[in-house]
């Protein structure tokens, strides 16, 4: 069942989304060579709590930290810890916040210092793919119109989209129906209706789309060890352009 949110629900989701966006902005300022992923997580947790929200990932399915930090070949769900960032790394940060029982979820991949031009291109194409997807999140379209637009944009630039992890509905739970794949033919799946809330999140690999999960049971890495990027927004489907809840 895909729920359509009321204006009251959307008010809470806007609040949660704004806090997620502000947190990402704070993290972006803190990302530099020498900082550890654990320090970034602590900063995020403190910031989210000061906004009177709850870091939504902590404890979700047993995840041990407040944010996901995935460096270089790590795709998603990296666990923050003692790893120190160095110049040339890229780091994907995924943030979730809960306010009054409603969720916001967003991610972005940031450069650490100066990065290789090919890495920069991966970041740019992944973010563009997210917006290509969001453009299709319009009432009347079908769900996989989003998926298809993302895949086409990514593959046009010679990269690949991860299959094993996908976007999702969001609202009074972090993961609601439907799943939002970043690949596949257009024109399939449920018809989008005004008030549906989706977390759209292309995960894009420089090489193969195949991934593996590390022994910590969380960290997803590319099978070929090449770089991966991840951009995500929580959006509301509208009759016109989608409303992006996790953008300032």
């Amino acid at each position: 069942m895909i729920s359509r949110k009321s204006e009251r629900e959307l008010r809470y989701m806007r609040k949660a989304g704004r806090i997620v966006a502000l947190t990402l902005r704070e993290l972006e300022k803190a990302i530099k060579p020498g900082v550890t992923t654990g320090e970034l997580s602590a900063l995020a947790e403190d910031f989210i709590r000061r906004q009177k929200a709850r870091p939504a990932f902590k404890g979700l399915y047993g995840f041990p930290a407040s944010i996901c930090t995935s460096v270089n070949e790590q795709v998603v769900h990296g666990i923050p810890g003692s790893r120190r960032l160095k110049a040339g790394d890229i780091i994907s940060i995924d943030v979730g916040a809960e306010v009054h029982g409603y969720y916001g979820d967003a991610a972005a991949t940031f450069p650490v210092g100066e990065i290789h031009s090919e890495a920069a291109r991966l970041l740019r194409v992944t973010e563009e793919a997210l917006y290509e997807g969001i453009k299709k999140a319009v009432a009347g379209n079908r769900l996989t119109d989003i998926s298809h637009a993302i895949q086409v944009h990514v593959e046009k630039h010679g990269f690949s989209v991860v299959r094993d992890f996908v976007g999702h509905g969001i609202g009074s739970r972090m993961h609601e129906d439907p799943q939002v794949p970043n690949f596949g033919p257009p024109g399939r799946g449920p018809r989008l209706e005004e008030g549906m809330t989706l977390a759209i999140e292309p995960m894009v690999n420089a090489g193969t789309y195949e991934v593996a999960v590390l022994e910590d049971n969380w960290t997803v890495v590319t099978k070929d060890g090449k770089l991966s990027a991840h951009f995500e927004h929580t959006v509301v489907v509208r009759n016109g352009a989608a409303e992006i809840l996790t953008r300032l």
Binding site: G96, R163, V166, H230
Partner: protein
């Protein structure tokens, strides 16, 4: 946080999305085909009488009851009490 694009597999925690049992938690007991599984909860749906569900009518959760899955994979018997225990543990771990 990315949602796991999951395959039905024995031992996986699922929630019924459609039917009169909507909202109930089960474990996958048998995978009949890509689209069809048999699920159990050890109480209403016991091992001797599993419920056949269309995968489309289930929400697949990330948690898998590893001990139950391992036993079934080895062809060993699993009791309804074990199913109940494993299910309760996973549901509690899910928290919300």
């Amino acid at each position: 946080m990315g949602s796991d694009n999951k395959e039905p597999q024995v031992g996986r925690l699922v929630i019924s999305k459609a039917g009169r049992d909507r909202g109930r938690h089960y474990l996958i007991y048998q995978v009949v085909s890509e689209r069809l599984v048999r699920v159990v909860d050890g109480t209403i749906r016991r091992i001797e009488n599993p419920k056949e569900k269309n995968v489309k009518h289930l929400q697949l959760r990330p948690a898998v009851a590893e001990t139950v899955a391992a036993k079934l994979a080895r062809g060993e018997r699993v009791t309804n009490a074990e199913i109940r225990g494993a299910l309760a543990q996973l549901v509690e771990k899910e928290g919300e």
